[in-house]
Amino acid sequence: ARDQTWVCSDASSSPILLSLRRGQATVTYAQSLLGAPETRLTALDNGLRIASEETGHSTCTVGLWIGCGSRYETEKNNGAGFFLEHMAFKGTKKHTQMALEQQVESMGAHLSAYTSREHTAYYMKTLAKDLPKAVELLSEVVQSNALSEADIEQQRSVVLRELEEVEGSLQDVCLDLLHATAFQGTPLGHSVLGPSQNARTLSRQDLVDFIKSHYKAPRMVLAAAGGVTHEELVGLAKQHFSGVSFEYEDDAVPVLSPCRFSGSEIRMRDDDMPLAHIAIAVEGASAASPDIVPLMVANSIIGSYDITFGGGKHLSSRLARLASEESLCHSFQAFHSSYSDTGLLGIYFVTDKHHIDDMMHWSQNAWMNLCTTVTESDVARAKNALKASLVGQLDGTTPKCDDIGRHVLNYGRRIPLAEWDARIDAVTPRMVRDVCSKYIYDKCPAVSAVGPVEQLPDYNRMRSAMYWLRF
């Protein structure tokens, strides 16, 4: 019969078009919020915390997140954490480098590490069934690193070469210089990589001292995400990590003192570079501050932009629209790096040497807009974008594991997506205006600029653009 009934259609009889569930995602947003299993948290007797999320995948990421980074280093041993990260996979007391590599490769696993200003992480991505082996290898890497003199000497040149190569990544250079000037005179100003002088002179003893003072159980989190069961993980942790010390020599517990923020600027002018990389930032909120969520929404309002975006004048962020129409920049992004007691809230952009003045003007204009006249529709759009990005970022076991590790170190627990969602919903335009005014309005910014930066305005002019006389 040619009679088309639309009401009762089963997949076999209806046309192919109807069987495509157009406009419907496979999982709704609400489901993705509540669908994630709860992150379970346990602590060992020595203070080491174990957190895991059991998602039922056949792979998993397991790692050790340690609450230490370049912020805990002094000028003399700045770069020790980074050096140690290089030494991590060069052999342990039980396995030589070859043996370690062979073990990892034969499992088909990925072993990596990263060091940041306040966190260090060693993690492994592997099949779920290889969890015991992974935890064993990780425990060796962290606790019984061989640190042979020969390897140390060899790694020196590697570190120096890496220092040389990072000069090519101007984004990193610019943001490193931003930290160096914003937190000048304080440990947060240290770069993670450390100066080349330290790379040449750090000794085995320095690295051993570093491990002894910072790799302590209460500051460590064994995090895992994927097809892992929490009980199994706890058992493995008890087996391998019970020996991690929790006492400090001479009871010298390293206490983080607050870091002074200095409104200042640093310009590394080189007219031979094609593009200028510039970052402007004010002191932001700490990771655990209640202002974090309004600030995330505020950054979402400014958003990010790249010259490859196709939206043109239809992009929703005002700054992005201007950047596209007036060709103000090649890219920009609003960022917020938060640490345990302070942060950097800023905008980073890359532009050519003739548009620096305009781009800086409009960036600060966007900030002023946030502090004074942000509207309901801006905030609504930003909230949706932020929620989408938070959910979208956790698209694998590794991001999830990283999330768990960092959250437990920062907050003492994993903040579930539903909680983020509730907090984001609670943000109103008034709140965005108030919070942004608190951090941005009439504050001295820190500016760092690399490249052909002649056009960058004088610091006093940039400082004057942090308030509006009309208000």
């Binding site: 770069g79 120096l160 220092l163 040389e164 990072v166 000069e167 250079v173 490193d176 210089l177 160096a180 000037t181 000048q184 005179g185 304080t186 100003g189 770069s191 990589l193 450390g194 100066p195 080349s196 002088q197 003192s257 607050p258 870091c259 002074r260 923020f261 200095s262 200042s264 640093i266 590394m268 080189d270 007219d271 031979d272 002191e283 007691d341 302070t342 009439d442 504050k443």
Partner: protein
């Protein structure tokens, strides 16, 4: 810049801020690819405050320069070697301690700065206004000119019944010593009769002396004293008659003779103007 400097050979020392011998891709200084820069003498007494000092001071052995045809030309001078100078000499006292957050003192620092700026602005505007006023008012009449605007007359020299004419501000000034009879007559005049009603009292400070400007209010001629039908002044041009108080009584003039400002510093003198 480095490549240009390397290629220009003889001029290279003048094209760079810091001079390091570089092995060019075609012309090798010494065999090999990596050339270390010459040792820069570190001057520890010179404070680490300028770009020039940073350039030569930071890495102990100077930048290592490598130039070759196939590989990347590089100056190994990591950005992490850049040390932000210590600005403690210039900081406010609340910000000297790097372990203390700068947020707490932020309000008070800003208030201080803005108050000082505001006060300076107010004082500055006032100063500017004063200076400008002084310059502009220098264009107004000078003291000698201003002095000429007043006239001092010794009244003792004017006998009774007589009218004296003085030149004042380019116009004739009549001072008449009136007799008692004249005063009584003028005071008794009825307002209704007058074209420009004004009582004699309102036109004189001391009834003995009538001081008026001798310009006829009709078309500006000078009236003749002690003439006319009313015992005052008579303008010959068109026949305006003024009385002994200078008021118009007959004739085409519309108003009374103008009474200028005058004072009697003492019995015997009057200063007009």
């Amino acid at each position: 810049m480095m490549s240009l400097a390397a290629r220009s050979g003889a001029f290279s020392p003048y094209l760079q801020a810091t001079n390091y011998a570089v092995a060019g891709p075609l012309k090798a200084l010494i065999p090999g690819v990596v050339v270390k820069g010459e040792k820069v003498l570190v001057d520890t007494k010179k404070p680490f405050l300028t770009r020039e000092s940073l350039n030569g001071q930071s890495p102990k052995t100077g930048p290592a320069v490598s130039v070759s045809i196939n590989a990347k030309a590089a100056v190994r001078f990591a950005h992490t070697d850049i040390k932000v100078p210590d600005f403690s000499d210039y900081r406010r006292p609340e910000l000297l301690d790097p372990k203390k957050s700068s947020q707490e003192s932020s309000e008070s620092r800003k208030t201080f700065s803005y108050l000082v700026t505001g006060a300076t602005a107010v004082v500055g505007v006032y100063t500017a206004k004063t200076v400008a006023t002084q310059f502009i008012s220098s264009m107004s009449a000078s003291a000698d000119v201003l002095a000429m605007s007043k006239i001092e007359v010794k009244l003792g020299e004017i006998p009774e019944g007589k009218n004296m004419t003085f030149k004042w501000r380019g116009k004739p000034l009549f001072i008449r010593h009136r007799s008692e009879k004249e005063i009584a007559v003028e005071e008794a005049v009825d307002m209704a009769e007058l074209r420009d009603p004004q009582h004699d009292k309102d036109r004189v400070a001391n009834p003995k002396w009538i001081i008026v400007i001798g310009v006829c209010t009709h078309l500006g001629c000078v009236p003749i004293a002690n003439a006319g039908d009313y015992g005052g002044y008579y303008c010959p041009c068109h026949g305006s008659h003024y009385d002994a108080s200078g008021r118009i009584r007959k004739g085409p003039a519309p108003l009374n003779l103008e009474v200028p400002y005058y004072e009697f510093p003492d019995e015997d003198t009057v200063i007009v103007g």
